[in-house]
Symmetry: C2
Subunit: 325 residues, 2 copies
Amino acid sequence: MATIKEVAKHAGVSVATVSRVLNEIGYVHEDTRKKVEAAIRELNYTPNEVARSLYKRKSRLIGLLLPDITNPFFPELARGVEDEMHKHDFRIIIGNSDENTNKEKEYIQTFIQNNVVGVIASTNYPDTDTYRKLDIPVVFLDRTADNRPSVYSDGREGGRMAAHEIVTRGSRQITIIQGPKHIRPAQDRYQGAIDVLRDQGIAYNVVQTSSYSFTEAGNWAQELFEQFPDTDGVIASNDIVATAVLHEALRLGKKVPDDVQIIGFDDIPLSSLLTPSLTTIRQPAYDMGSTAAGLLIRLIDNQNPDQKTIQMPVTFTERDTTRKV
Amino acid sequence: MATIKEVAKHAGVSVATVSRVLNEIGYVHEDTRKKVEAAIRELNYTPNEVARSLYKRKSRLIGLLLPDITNPFFPELARGVEDEMHKHDFRIIIGNSDENTNKEKEYIQTFIQNNVVGVIASTNYPDTDTYRKLDIPVVFLDRTADNRPSVYSDGREGGRMAAHEIVTRGSRQITIIQGPKHIRPAQDRYQGAIDVLRDQGIAYNVVQTSSYSFTEAGNWAQELFEQFPDTDGVIASNDIVATAVLHEALRLGKKVPDDVQIIGFDDIPLSSLLTPSLTTIRQPAYDMGSTAAGLLIRLIDNQNPDQKTIQMPVTFTERDTTRKV
DNA sequence: TTGTAAGCGTTATCAG
DNA sequence: CTGATAACGCTTACAA
C-alpha cells in the first residue's frame, strides 16, 4: 500500500499538500491539485484510515451490538443500520452479545479500543456503567432507557394489541408465552397482554421460556399443549416460538385458527410464508435500524436532534392464524 | 481514555516499561510489574488498538463480506465465523455486498484501509483483481476459486442428490428453480440437478429467478404453478423459495407431498418448523463459518495449512415435503 | 499557495 | 532490568 509520503514524492510536493487535496481543505493551486490527483491514481493510493483515526482520535467506524444475528429479527435491524451508515461512509464492527453482560462489555471495549465514533446497542442493561461511562454517543435499539437516545417500539402496547385482538376473535383459554425473563421487550409484551386479560377477566396460563432459540422453541410448544391442552389462543413472545407453536398445533391435529388462534411478534420475513400465514404484531425492523443509524449520525455530528427517543409503531398484522372478526 | 503515558507517569516508570508488561515481552522486575499493573487497574487503562495497529501495520480485525445477512443462511455462517474469531481475539468488520461487485470492492477497500489482517468473503467473482491483489490472506466462504483457500460445499453434488431423491420418490414432471444467474452456488445446484434428470431422461421445466428475496419468492412460486401446472416435483434453489413454493402449493389446494414434492437447499433454521416440514439438502452453515475462520487464522499465523480448500458435506435431509421411499 | 514539523498512542531498538 | 527515542501514516498549526 502506497503512503501519503510516496504520493508526495511522486507528485513533487509535500505531504501537507497531498493531505490538503485529499481533504479538500485550505488552498491548493489547480495545477498542483492535478499533479497530486494523478499521483494518487498512478500509485493507487488510498489513505490509511488507521493513521487518520489515530490523529483525529476518531474513526469512521461504528459499533453494532446485537443479541444474536441468528434470530431473523436482528438481521433486518442490522441491514437498516448498515445501509444508512453506509450512505454516510460509516462502517460497522459487529458483535453478538447472546444477551450476556460479559460479552457485551467485551465488545463495547473493543469498540472503544478501535475508536468507533458511536455505538448502537440492543441491551437489556442500558443503565449500566458500561454505557454511562462512554464518551461517545450511544443509541439503544429495540431497547430503551429513560432519556437516553433510543429507537424502539412499544412492546407493552403490542402485548395489549395481541391480547385485545385474540380476545375479540373469540379465544377464552389463552396461553401466553412469556419469553426469557431477562429480555426486556419480551417482558413488556407479556405485561401488556396481561394488562388486558386481567382487565377483562379472561383466563390465561403462562409458559415461561428461557431463550429464543429455534431448537428449543419446539420443546416449549410441546410443553404448552401438554400442560394446557384446552388452550384456544396463544400469544407468543415472538414469531420464532409462534412458528413452533403453529407447527405443534398442526401436528396435534388442531385446526388453526378454528381450534387455536396464534399471534406472534415481530413479523420476521418468513411469517407471511407459513401456512397458514402467521398473524403477528409487526415491528418495522429495517426502519428501526435505519432510524437508529440516522439518530446516531446526528448525535455524532453534534446536531442535537429534536427527538432523542423515537418510538416506532407496532401494528397488528392480520393473517391466517386468527379468525376473521 | 487513559493512555500508556499516563499509566507510566502514574506508576513512576517509562512508557517502554509499561509496554513491556502489557505485551509480556522482555525483562521486567517483579516489583515494577506490580506497580504497573496497579496503575493500569486504577486508571482503567486499555491499550489503544488504533495506535498499535498503526505501528504494527496490522490490527486484530478481520473483514467479513457476505451477500445479504437478511437471507437466513448467512447469519449462521456469520455466527460460525464470529464465534471462532472471538476465541482468538479477532473482531469482525462486516459488509453486505448484495452480490454487487462495486459494493464488494468498496468494502474490501475499507477493510484494507482499516488494516484488517484477513478477509472472509462470499463472492461470485473470486478470480478478480479485487482479491488477487490483496496481500493479506483471503478465505472464500460458500464459494470457491481454484487453488485459493476456501470453504464451501459441493453444490453440484447437492443438486444431483436433490434430483436423485425426488425422482426415486416418484416425481416425473419436475420443475427446477434455477436461481439467480450470477450466483455460483445456485448455478451449481441447477447443473447438478440437470445432470441426473437428463441422464435418466426425466422431463423437467425451469423457472429462472433473479434474487433470493423473501418478497419476490412468492411471485416466482405463483409463476411456477401458472406456467407448469402439472408439476409434481419442485427442486428449489434454496429454502426461501422452497418455502414460498410450499406456501403456494398449499394455497392452490395441492397436497404436499402427495401431489407435489418439494426439495429445498440449505436447511435454514425455519425449515424444520414448517408444516409440512421441508425436505432439503443441508449445508452445515455454522460449521462452514467456523471452519473458514479457523483456516483464515492459520493462514494469518503463517502456518501453512495442509488443506486450503475445504469441502463440507452436503446431506439429504428427509422431512415431510417428500414421500417415503 | 506551499512546506516544515509536531503530535496522535503504541512498539521496538539501542543504550545504559 | 529500564529509559530515550524513532517510527508507524496521517492532519494541522504555523511559517514562509
